[in-house]
């Protein structure tokens, strides 16, 4: 194909005019309305927060190498795990896939020029920065030691740390989440290209939609909870103080009303990415499209009914515990449906073991373990033994790191050529994927055993007989750390000297692969008209794979 100033699809090499080159001043980036640029800015910020949270994690694992609390004394250790939790949950996990991959890909996947409300998108980024800056400032001043859960009355009455500042930072950050969710919902409803019906949408879009529902329904409640917490801390009115008639359990109800759906905010986008990865890298149409789509919505809805399973032993009534326990079992069903569908997709597929697929397969195994152990924790009899032990820690790291982070890494690697126009080093990608998988299991599997043996969480010291398992865990953490730092190196290197990817380096049928890499600012030269179903690996959808392969072979250097 002849190159022109405009963008022609099926071109190899990086087009001269794309969203990255369209305006090179700082002002053009900071005042951009382009969802892709906003996604890149989110990517950088989110990665910084991930690294900060990772440093706290290293401090935790280093301290736990030895039984006594020798590296960090208890007060400091409290601050370290609290800040690890806050940074990772509120500033990395919750925004990661929606704000980075969702922002970048959602409009492209539905064939739109941009999100419905681009200025709201930019506002969302600014709010994220402001909330993050406030939190980082508070952490540098001395931090918080209440646990990321801010349980009262410790956080309101007794803690001598920067509870209000960090709370305010999280409060502000919540609005970033709400605005992103709002934008996605509106966009999916109104901005789909002609022919892009709901059931032709990629499952990534369905997952983002479900996540957005959770964001807008749940996040305001944590906002008001933090507000009440701040007022209580400031004015000592007593709504959470039992001696004056208040109820600390009320705080927990309001807190977990959001924070449980929050974990679905964290995992649903990851599941969306996995649907994309598994289907595409098996070169096979996804099994049970409608089931996966509706499961996403079901998880979003049912996720609001189970928050009490975080409060089994805190004083809520046993009847309420029964109801929440039963519903916890129910909410696992849609996730299980997805797992079965993904596995069935891989059956008789033509599997490409590229780096993103390695992450996806890792997800299947790790999320399975994480989800299953969540069911153990949801049964009231067992939870009395396991609550507040390392079993819980291992469970949520399996779903959050083994699930979400691995899905996020898989997604970043999968869409990296689209976002930057460059291919990364496949060799190093595979090595780091395997290091992450091995390191992760070595870190967190011993923690299941530790929890079962009774090691409490949030403790800086532990009995001597548990040291061996803790050493395994820390060793694993170092491997995991190496595996997580490596992408930073080779992905950055790819920006400088990576092989230019064509518009469709993987030969996949998705709409995002039918525009150039990186895409132009308005995403498509011509508004696409969609006539094919999602994940169709055949000629009728206009993607002549053999022809494209021939062209790629000829024009790529």
């Amino acid at each position: 194909m002849q190159t022109q100033d405009g963008i022609i699809a099926e071109q190899s090499g990086i087009p001269k005019q794309n969203y990255l080159t369209n305006g090179t001043t700082l002002k053009s980036w900071l005042l951009t309305k382009d969802h892709k640029r906003i996604a890149i800015m989110y990517l950088i910020t989110v990665s910084l927060f991930f690294m900060a949270g990772g440093i706290y994690a290293s401090a935790i694992r280093l301290e736990l190498l030895t039984p006594p609390s020798d590296l960090l004394e208890s007060g400091t250790y409290n601050k370290v795990f609290t800040q690890h939790g806050i940074l990772m949950i509120f500033f990395f996990l919750i925004p990661s896939i929606p704000a980075v991959l969702g922002n970048f890909l959602l409009p492209i996947m539905i064939g739109a020029k941009d999100l419905a409300l681009p200025r709201i998108n930019l506002l969302s980024l600014y709010i994220y920065w402001i909330g993050g800056a406030l939190t980082v400032w508070a952490l540098l001043q001395g931090g918080v030691d209440t646990g990321w859960t801010f349980y009262t009355p410790y956080s309101t009455t007794f803690s001598n740390t920067y509870v209000m500042a960090v709370g305010l930072g999280i409060f502000i950050n919540g609005f970033s989440s709400i605005l992103t969710g709002l934008n996605f919902i509106v966009t999916v409803h109104t901005m789909r290209a002609p022919g892009m019906t709901w059931f032709r949408l990629p499952l990534f879009v369905w997952a983002q939609y479900a996540t957005s529902l959770v964001m807008i329904l749940g996040t305001p409640v944590i906002a008001i909870t933090i507000l009440l917490l701040a007022i209580e801390r400031f004015a000592q009115v007593g709504i959470f103080d039992p001696s004056i008639g208040g109820d600390p359990i009320l705080f927990q109800h309001l807190f977990w009303f959001y924070s449980h759906p929050a974990v679905y905010i964290m995992i649903l986008p990851g599941m969306g990415v996995i649907s994309e990865l598994i289907s595409n890298f098996s070169r096979k149409k996804i099994f049970g499209y409608e089931f996966i789509a509706f499961s996403s919505i079901a998880i979003a809805v049912f996720g609001f009914l189970v928050w009490g399973h975080h409060m089994f032993v805190s004083g809520q009534s046993i009847y309420a515990g029964l109801v929440f326990s039963f519903l916890t079992m129910v909410v696992a069903v849609p996730s299980a449906i997805k797992m079965f569908n993904w596995t069935a997709t891989m059956y008789k597929g033509s599997i490409l073991f590229e780096t993103p697929m390695l992450y996806a397969i890792g997800f299947l195994g790790l999320f399975l373990i994480g989800g299953l152990t969540g069911l153990f924790l949801g049964s009231m009899g067992l939870v009395v033994h396991l609550t507040d032990t390392y079993f819980v820690v291992a469970h949520f790291h399996y779903v959050m790191v083994g699930g979400q982070v691995i899905a996020y890494l898989g997604g970043i690697h999968y869409w990296w050529p689209k976002m930057t126009g460059r291919m990364y080093s496949e060799f190093w990608g595979k090595i780091s994927a395997m290091l992450v998988f091995i390191g992760f299991n070595l870190t967190f599997f011993p923690q299941f055993i530790l929890g079962y043996l009774g090691m409490p969480r949030r403790y800086a010291s532990y009995p001597e007989e548990m040291q061996v398992l803790n050493i395994f865990s820390t060793a694993g953490a170092s491997v995991l750390g190496v595996g997580l730092i490596m992408p930073v190196v080779y992905l950055t290197q790819s920006l400088i000297a990576g092989k230019p990817a064509g518009d469709n380096p993987w030969m996949f049928p998705g709409l995002e692969w039918r525009t150039s890499s990186p895409p132009p600012t308005e995403n498509f030269e011509v508004t696409p008209v969609v006539t094919w179903e999602a994940y169709e690996f055949s000629d009728e959808n206009g993607l002549d794979i053999d022809e494209a392969r021939r062209r790629q072979a000829v024009t790529t250097v």
Binding site: M191, L217, L254
Partner: protein
């Protein structure tokens, strides 16, 4: 700009159309869904406070009724009517914007703002009254008066249409007790009428106190006015947070109206383009709806106990 040149081609689009939309219909639909989603999250935001209200009222209904009796339902009711009128003028603003009638639009927006400001003015009156009476739940935030100072003259309650002035003055006589509050803490000087009423009713056999109340109001089996006061303080805390958050939304609403006034004055709105007016209207009506629920739940709790 209704038209511009782009890549050498001449583009025409409707006034106010943003670049990411194909046509005005898509923009209006998007903006409308966006505003409603925003209102949904605002509902959940206030919902957290309603949950706290629900929990505490179900545990301490008598204290809540007692506290509520000292909110002046007259001002609360007036505020409700003021907001309803402002909702009407807001709806009429949209009506006129749709017809491109600039002058009536501007008048209606000004009226809406006037009523909104009236609402806030009444809230100032109410909050000042609470300040003077020692009913703000934060220590140090109430008016301080010690014995050396003359007794503070309480504002007599507004005379109801069905009372004589003498009756009103007599019923408000308790409020004229000397007010002593050197540390500015929360004080409850208004007795325990609702509690007494409930105890009377209990004598006839029907249980009137909840489980929490049987524990919460008593020390060593005896009624403890300090513990009762603490529960009333929780009521006032919820009152201030809920009405305060509502007032904050009102202030934001006034800001929104000011911007709308400016744009309407310019004559930007017509049948082709009036979505900003409609969306601002949605926000304003939402604020009204929250007050519609706040009024009976906060102000009208315990009146029936007194008759």
């Amino acid at each position: 700009m209704a038209s511009h040149a782009e890549n050498g081609k001449f583009h025409y689009h409707e006034p106010g159309l943003q670049h990411q939309f194909e046509d005005m219909g898509q923009q209006e639909e998007s903006v409308s869904i966006g505003m409603w989603v925003f209102l949904v999250q605002e509902i959940m935001f206030f919902g957290g406070l309603f949950t706290a209200y629900l929990v505490f009222r179900s545990r301490f209904p008598l204290a809540f009724a007692e506290g509520s009796n000292h909110l002046d339902a007259f001002w609360g009711g007036l505020n409700t009517l003021v907001l309803i009128v402002s909702s009407l003028t807001m709806a009429l603003t949209v009506y006129y914007a749709q017809r491109g009638n600039r002058n009536m639009q501007v008048i209606m927006i000004l009226l809406t703002m006037a009523f909104g400001a009236t609402f806030l003015g009444v809230k100032v009156i109410e909050y000042t009254d609470k300040y003077n009476s020692g009913l703000i739940p934060v220590t140090g935030w109430n008016k301080r008066a010690n014995e050396a100072q003359p007794a503070v003259e309480e504002r007599a309650g507004a005379v109801m249409p069905w009372e004589t002035a003498v009756a009103a003055a007599e019923s408000g006589s308790e409020k004229k007790k000397p007010y002593i509050n050197p540390h500015g803490e929360f004080q409850w000087n208004y007795g325990r009428h609702v509690y007494d009423y409930a105890i009377e009713k209990e004598k006839s056999g029907k249980p009137y106190l909840t489980e929490s109340e049987r524990v919460g109001y008593f020390s060593n089996g005896v009624f403890d006015p300090n513990k009762y006061r603490d529960k009333i303080r929780i009521f006032y805390f919820i009152y201030f947070v809920m009405t305060g958050l509502h007032a904050l939304h009102m202030i934001v609403g006034l800001g929104l109206m000011a911007w709308l006034l400016f744009v309407a004055w310019r004559g930007d709105f017509s049948a082709l383009y009036y979505a900003p007016v409609e969306m601002s209207g949605l926000y304003w009506h939402f604020v009204d709806i929250v007050w519609i629920f706040l009024f009976p739940l906060l102000y009208l709790l315990g009146r029936h106990f007194l008759h």
